[in-house]
Structure formats: structure tokens, C-alpha cells
């Protein structure tokens, strides 16, 4: 019986094994190319930063106007600190639009109290269709603050309302719980000033867990000591400094993080804004903007800028993290499927020929092949098709490549930005680079596969995200919202 099983397994496994091995080589060639490209790109960008100094943009009356769109859903714990930090960003022409997306808590009341909001009549041009606006507020204290209370419609809908209300040349989409560094906007806008063909730019996102903050500002950066947050620090660094920076040079990015991205307003409105019926609205928008740019002959470049940083809270429970990763993979699958005609299409330049195939082969299929590889390994070991020592060595080689990429990314980050200054923090980062391979990585494969299955079944829920908030003291109790005085 065992002999028959072994023959059957060998007959099936032979070609599959070869395919998995080839894929293993392909994926690592891709990652190595990204790393090399990222090193060159980092050097180019740092030189470019010398060419146009931050203090010139900050002090210039000619800098393009930026409207920050901050959608908020039940963010009463963090909203005051977030809005305060947004209002004090180093940028000369700034407007902040906070969109309360049908909040069930006292987010709007907190904003009304803290920023002296007054209700004004809801007169705006709905160039992008959205759900209804309940109330529109302006601040009597901050001329550049707009708050809109709307019916719940999800993040995409909230951002579209913000897009309709924004008056800036550029719009910066962020999450309301994201902390943006003071000088980040000046650096993010740089590619837009340099090249009119750039339609969107994105900055680096780093986990804020374990980072000391005060009044919406980052005071001291430390590496989290808990597994999930610590591993995600390394993971985010690799995704941004290796993946996105490398893609800048190899044909441009397809993703701008929803937590911190800058877009030209007019092309955004012309493209219809963020889509409602997808869970991957950030990526879908970027792909659509680039695609329309190619088709209409308008701006189509998307640039990742490594030095502007936004800090966001990452999940610290397996359940929430799993939900997030599952949703990300559903979003990726959905976007790639919607725009499938781009794959290998020379009409779309490097995006069609390099970037899109990379996303399909490496980002989309990776969990399937990785899971397949693990199953084959287990099955082959069970029926004695491969030598145990060889299997173990091969597994170590695969882990080693991942580790080298992580350490190389840490080096790139340290040499360029020196965020983590304590030797102890570096030791933790190296440890998290090792630890992520011992269970975490395998769990992400499972979550991504689950996302694929859910996508096939047509599931489009977002899952829940619980937040601790940045404030160290609990928010003061909020009195019931009082309707603002109306014009006679």
C-alpha cells in the first residue's frame, strides 16, 4: 500500500516540485532585483532631495495647495491629537478635511468642542457620487479646517466626500489615526513639483506601537518588544524600502498606502475617485489612475518617496491581523482581476510588461506556491521521496534568503535614515527578522490563502480593527452634542 502511495506521490510531485523550484528561483531573482534597484533609487532620491531644499518649499508662497483628507470612524480616542498634528504640519498652503463617516461614538462632538466648529450650510459640488452629507462644519479657530459629518458608507465613500469638498491642487489621503511627521508633506510633494507627469506619491508607513508620542508628535522611536508588532516593523520596512522603492526604478508602483498618499485632485475627480465596491480601494485607484493616464496621455507616474514617514498602529492580536491580511489579499486579487487586460500589454509600458506581471506572479500567487511547497515537502518526507537532511538544508536556504533580504533592508534604512539609534533596538530588529520565519510567515500564507478563497466566494467585508490610541491619558467625557446656531 505504502509503495503504491509512494509511486503515486512521485508521479504527481515530480513536475509540481520542478515548478515550485523554478518559482522559488524566480521569486528570489525578483526580490534581489528589487533590492539592487532600491539601493540605486535611494541614492538618486537623496541627491534629488539636495536639489530642492525643504526649507525653500516650506517658506514659499508658490507651493501647491494640499488638502488632507482624514476619514474617521469612531476615532474619539485619537481624533484630537491627529487633527492637531495635521494642523501643525510644516507646509505653507494646507487645508485639513476631516470626514466623520457615520460615527457612532462622539468623534464629531469631540471635534466640535476642541476646534470650535460651527455648522454651515451643505453647499458643495458632488462631482463624485457619494452617500449623503449630514452636516458641514468650519472651524472658527482654524481657517483651514473643514469637518464633514456623513452617513456611513465606508472609507472609500468618506474619501470621495472629502475629494468633493477639497479645494487644494493636491489631495493627501490619510487614516485619521495616522501620525504624519512634521516635514513629511514637503518631501512628499517634491516629485509633484519636479515632474507634472507624476499623478500620485506615497511615503513610508512605520508601526507606531511602542513609539512614544505626545500631542500627535513622535518623540522617541523604539522597536516593539512584542512578537506581532515587532515582526510587522521588519515587514513594513521590507515592503516599503525594498518593494516600493525598488519598483520606482523598475516601472513604477501600483500601490500607494491608504494611510498616507498624495494625489493630483483633478485627475482623481476625472477618474471617479475611490471605488466603493472593493476592499482594495487604495491599490485599485492607483492602477486606474495609471491606466487612464496611459490611455488619455495624461499624468501616469506613481512615485514612492522613502523619507516622508507616517506612523500607524498595527494589529497586535492574531485575529485582527489575520482579518487585515486576508482583506489586503482580497483587495489585491480584486484589483488585478479588474484590470487584467493590463498584464503583458505593451500599450501600458513598463506597468503592463514588468510591474503587473510581477504583482500577479509574486504577490498574488506567492501564498499558493508557498503552501504547495510546504505540502510537497511534508508529503515527500512522509513517503521518503527526499532525504530529510536535504529537505532541512533546502528549508534553511529558503529562510536564509528571506533573512538576508530583511537584514539588507535594515541596513538600507539605517544607512539612510538612522531611525533606530539604540544598539538594543537593532538587536531586536535582527531578532524579529529571524522570528518572523518561525510561525508568523506561515500564518500570513494561511491568511492570504483564506483571502483568496473568500474572494472566490464573493466576500467583501472589512473586518474589525481595535485601537489603543496614542494618548496616554483617557479622553475627557464629552457632553452631548449641541446643535450649532444657524444663520438667521
Amino acid at each position: 500500500m505504502m509503495w503504491y502511495l509512494a509511486v503515486a506521490v512521485e508521479a504527481i510531485m515530480g513536475p509540481v516540485e520542478t515548478a515550485v523550484l523554478l518559482y522559488f528561483c524566480l521569486i528570489n531573482i525578483c526580490y534581489t532585483s528589487l533590492l539592487v534597484a532600491a539601493v540605486f533609487e535611494m541614492r538618486r532620491m537623496r541627491n534629488e532631495a539636495i536639489g530642492i531644499n525643504d526649507h525653500i518649499v516650506v517658506g514659499s508662497r508658490l507651493a501647491p495647495t494640499i488638502s488632507i483628507l482624514a476619514p474617521a470612524y469612531n476615532e474619539e480616542a485619537t481624533i484630537t491629537a491627529s487633527v492637531q498634528s495635521l494642523l501643525t504640519l510644516d507646509y505653507p498652503n494646507l487645508e485639513v478635511v476631516v470626514i466623520a463617516d457615520g460615527c457612532k461614538d462622539s468623534t464629531v462632538a469631540v471635534l466640535t468642542r476642541e476646534f470650535a466648529l460651527v455648522e454651515v450650510y451643505r453647499a458643495y459640488s458632488a462631482r463624485v457620487p457619494t452617500k449623503g452629507v449630514v452636516a458641514l462644519y468650519r472651524s472658527a479657530r482654524h481657517a483651514n479646517l473643514v469637518v464633514v459629518d456623513k452617513l456611513n458608507g465606508g472609507k472609500a465613500d468618506a474619501l470621495n466626500v472629502g475629494l468633493n469638498l477639497a479645494s487644494g491642487d493636491l489631495v493627501c489621503a490619510i487614516d485619521a489615526d495616522t501620525l504624519i511627521e512634521r516635514g513629511a508633506l514637503v518631501r512628499l510633494v517634491r516629485p509633484m513639483i519636479i515632474d507634472p507627469d507624476v499623478v500620485a506619491t506615497g511615503g513610508t508607513i512605520r508601526p507606531v506601537n511602542a513609539v512614544e508620542t505626545k500631542n500627535g508628535r513622535v518623540l522617541d522611536v523604539t522597536v516593539p518588544r512584542t512578537l506581532l508588532a515587532g515582526v510587522q516593523v521588519v515587514e513594513y520596512l521590507r515592503a516599503f524600502l525594498l518593494g516600493r522603492l525598488g519598483l520606482n526604478r523598475l516601472g513604477g508602483n501600483l500601490i500607494i498606502s491608504g494611510a498616507f498618499g498624495l494625489f493630483r485632485r483633478e485627475p482623481m475627480i476625472a477618474s471617479g475617485g475611490w471605488l466603493h465596491d472593493t476592499v482594495g480601494e487604495d491599490m485599485e485607484l492607483v492602477v486606474r489612475l495609471r491606466r487612464l493616464g496611459y490611455e488619455r496621455g495624461t499624468a501616469s507616474k506613481v512615485v514612492f518617496v522613502p523619507d516622508p514617514t507616517a506612523w500607524t498602529e498595527v494589529p497586535e492580536s492574531w485575529g485582527v491581523l489575520g482579518g487585515q491580511r486576508d482583506r489586503w489579499h482580497r483587495g489585491l486579487t480584486d484589483t488585478l482581476w479588474r484590470h487584467r487586460r493590463l498584464i503583458g500589454n505593451p500599450k501600458y509600458g513598463a506597468m503592463g510588461l514588468i510591474v503587473f506581471p510581477y504583482f500577479v506572479l509574486v504577490e498574488l500567487l506567492a501564498p499558493i506556491v508557498e503552501a504547495l511547497g510546504l505540502i510537497i515537502l511534508a508529503a515527500s518526507l512522509a513517503v521518503g521521496l527526499i532525504d530529510q537532511t536535504f529537505a532541512l538544508l533546502f528549508f534553511a536556504v529558503a529562510l536564509g534568503i528571506g533573512l538576508i533580504l530583511s537584514v539588507a533592508t535594515l541596513l538600507l534604512d539605517q544607512a539612510s535614515f538612522l531611525r533606530y539609534r539604540r544598539p538594543g533596538d537593532l538587536a531586536w530588529l535582527v531578532w524579529w527578522s529571524i522570528a518572523e520565519n518561525l510561525g508568523f510567515r506561515q500564518m500570513t500564507v494561511y491568511w492570504r490563502l483564506r483571502g483568496l478563497v473568500k474572494y472566490m466566494r464573493g466576500r467583501s467585508d472589512w473586518g474589525a480593527m481595535t485601537r489603543k490610541g496614542f494618548a496616554t491619558t483617557p479622553p475627557a467625557p464629552v457632553p452631548a452634542a449641541v446643535p450649532p446656531p444657524r444663520a438667521g
Binding site: 534629488e48 460651527v118 544607512a415
Partner: protein, 348 residues
């Protein structure tokens, strides 16, 4: 070679790469830790001595011998810290200091390098210490855009006609950062750039003209009234928009008449610009014509008209209250919005 041996070899290679990577990481961290401690004390001492020496003038530069002994990296760091805040004799003293430290000679060498990144660094150094035009002026026409943009920063302290002329030509540069840097520098040069700007506006192509009008709008000098008047009738809408806004910033009887005429322009962007111009002028006698634009086909024009009436104060508010009850729903909505803003004391 057997697969097993191959895998072992790869694994050994990986292990070595990892060891080197981690060693580099640790070495970098350790070096920075040491370097920051080492440089902090020296920098503080030199910073204090330098501040005192600059306050006293050139004859006290002997106190800055510590500066000359610093590594070049730290010298440049200190210059970058101080230079943007210094002008006149203090800046001259800083230049003398850079000369003593050999930084001027170094900057000159870097500016002539074949590598653009070195030229860029040299130009930055020149911008910090204010190197003579003979070295930096050619870099304003460098083949690399970063170098050109950086050279523009040097020009902020050089209001000479030749420099201003090059800056004006850069308003039509193909690279956005050069255009931006040139515009910003011209604005900062102010008075010295006005007359050449007027001459440039009269002869520039469209790309250069748009950039020049943005500079003119930010400067808002009365001498720019004549070109603004003539360009208000330009066949290009984007030029008319900027010309009308410039007229709004400058005022004058015939300027206001031209702005009021632009309320009937076929292009919505020009009508909107005219409304913004009238808002900034506070020209309330135009309230009746502005109120009519609350029924304009373009949404942005309607909204701007309501905000313009609000800016006129009492005469505008009367119109807004009337329009609040209008049968035109959009006119009524934007009127209510503007009235709400007024009663709440909020800004638009």
C-alpha cells in the same frame, strides 16, 4: 556537484552574507553612537566660538581655529546650520571662514567635476558660503536638473542683472523643480527682479509667461500693472486668469474696470478669477453683477460669487439674503453657505 553539496554551499554563502550584513549593521550603529558623542562636544564649542566671532566681525576670526580643525563633513554641517540665517557682514565673515578652512577651493573643484552628484554637492557648498558668480553661474545651465535647481538657491543672494536674466529664462525650464526654484528665488529677490520681469513678460513664450505671471502675482508690485492690463485680453484663458488675479492684487481704476469686464468672460476659470480679484479688492459697487453670477452655469463660479458677496460686507450680505430665498436651488444653497460662514465668523 551533487544537489546536497550545492545546497550546502549556498547555505554557507548565505550564512557568510548574513554575518557580514549583521556586522555592518552593528558597526554602523556603533560608529554613529561614537561619532555623535565625539562630534557633539566639538560642535557645541565651535558653534559658540563661531557665533561670537561672527558677531564681532572678521578680526576675531582667530577664535575659530577650532572650526578649521574640524572634519569637512562637520564644517559643512555647521555652515548649513548658520548660513541661511546670516546676511551682510556676518555672511561675509562666514565666507572668510570657509576660505580659511579651504572650503571655497574644495567647492570650486567639486563644481567642475564630471560627476553630477559632486557638482550638486559643490553647488550646495557654494550656496552656503556665497561663491563668486564665475564658478556658479555656468551651473545654472547645467545638464542636470538637480544641479540647476541647487544653483538657483545660490542666486538668492545675487541680485545681479545677469543672474536675474538666467532665472527668468529658467521659468520655462523643462524640469519642474528648476521652474519652482527660479520662481521662488525671483520672489525673494523682490525689487531687483521687477524691471527685468516686466521686460520678460513682454517677450516670453507661453510656458515662461505663465510662470512669470505667478511670480508677478506673488510680488504684487504696482509697476506690473501695465503688463497685467495688456494680458487681461490675451487669447489664452490661463494667461487671462493670472492677469486678472494680478489686477485684483494691484487695484487701480482701470484695473478694476478690466476685472469687472472679466466677469463676462466665456471661460469659467476667468470669471472665477475675476470674482476672487473683486473679493480681494472689496469692490462692493460690483455686488449687483456678482449676484447675477450666482446663477452661472459653472458651480465653482457660483460658489466664488457667494464668497465674493460675503467679502463685500453689508452690501453683499443684502444680496445674499435675497438670494437665499431664490427659486434657483444652487444659488439658494451657496447663498446660505456664505451667510452661515458670515454669522459664524468662520473662513471659507
Amino acid at each position: 556537484m551533487s544537489p546536497d553539496a550545492l545546497v550546502r554551499m549556498v547555505l554557507f554563502g548565505e550564512f557568510m552574507a548574513l554575518v557580514i550584513g549583521v556586522a555592518l549593521l552593528v558597526a554602523h550603529a556603533w560608529w554613529w553612537w561614537w561619532y555623535e558623542r565625539w562630534s557633539a562636544g566639538r560642535l557645541d564649542a565651535v558653534r559658540t566660538a563661531l557665533r561670537e566671532a561672527l558677531a564681532e566681525g572678521e578680526r576675531h576670526l582667530r577664535f575659530t581655529r577650532d572650526f578649521v580643525r574640524l572634519p569637512m563633513r562637520l564644517q559643512i554641517y555647521l555652515l548649513g546650520e548658520l548660513a541661511p540665517h546670516l546676511t551682510g557682514s556676518e555672511r561675509q565673515a562666514l565666507r572668510q571662514l570657509a576660505h580659511q578652512a579651504g572650503l571655497l577651493r574644495k567647492a570650486e573643484q567639486l563644481c567642475r567635476s564630471w560627476f553630477w552628484s559632486r557638482r550638486l554637492f559643490g553647488t550646495k557648498l557654494c550656496a552656503l558660503v556665497g561663491h563668486p558668480a564665475s564658478v556658479v553661474l555656468p551651473l545654472l545651465a547645467d545638464r542636470n536638473a538637480s544641479v540647476r535647481a541647487q544653483a538657483v538657491e545660490w542666486a538668492i543672494h545675487r541680485p545681479e542683472p545677469a543672474v536675474v536674466e538666467v532665472l527668468l529664462q529658467m521659468l520655462g525650464d523643462r524640469d519642474g523643480r528648476c521652474r519652482f526654484a527660479a520662481q521662488d528665488t525671483l520672489v525673494r529677490l523682490g525689487h531687483d527682479a521687477i524691471v527685468p520681469l516686466m521686460t520678460f513678460i513682454a517677450t516670453a513664450d507661453r510656458a515662461g509667461l505663465l510662470g512669470a505671471l505667478e511670480v508677478a502675482l506673488t510680488m504684487a508690485d504696482a509697476r506690473l500693472l501695465a503688463p497685467a492690463r495688456s494680458l487681461a485680453a490675451s487669447p489664452h484663458a490661463d494667461v487671462r486668469v493670472r492677469a486678472v488675479l494680478l489686477l485684483g492684487a494691484l487695484g487701480s481704476q482701470d484695473g478694476i474696470a478690466l476685472v469687472a469686464r472679466a466677469l463676462d468672460d466665456p471661460e469659467p476659470a476667468v470669471r472665477q478669477a475675476a470674482l476672487r480679484a473683486l473679493s480681494s479688492l472689496g469692490h462692493w459697487p460690483a455686488a449687483g453683477r456678482v449676484a447675477a453670477l450666482l446663477h452661472d452655469p459653472a458651480w465653482d463660479v457660483r460658489r466664488q460669487a457667494a464668497l465674493c458677496l460675503r467679502a463685500f460686507g453689508a452690501p453683499g450680505l443684502i444680496y445674499l439674503r435675497r438670494l437665499r430665498d431664490s427659486n434657483d436651488q444652487v444659488a439658494s444653497a451657496v447663498a446660505r453657505y456664505a451667510l452661515d460662514l458670515s454669522s459664524a465668523g468662520a473662513s471659507a
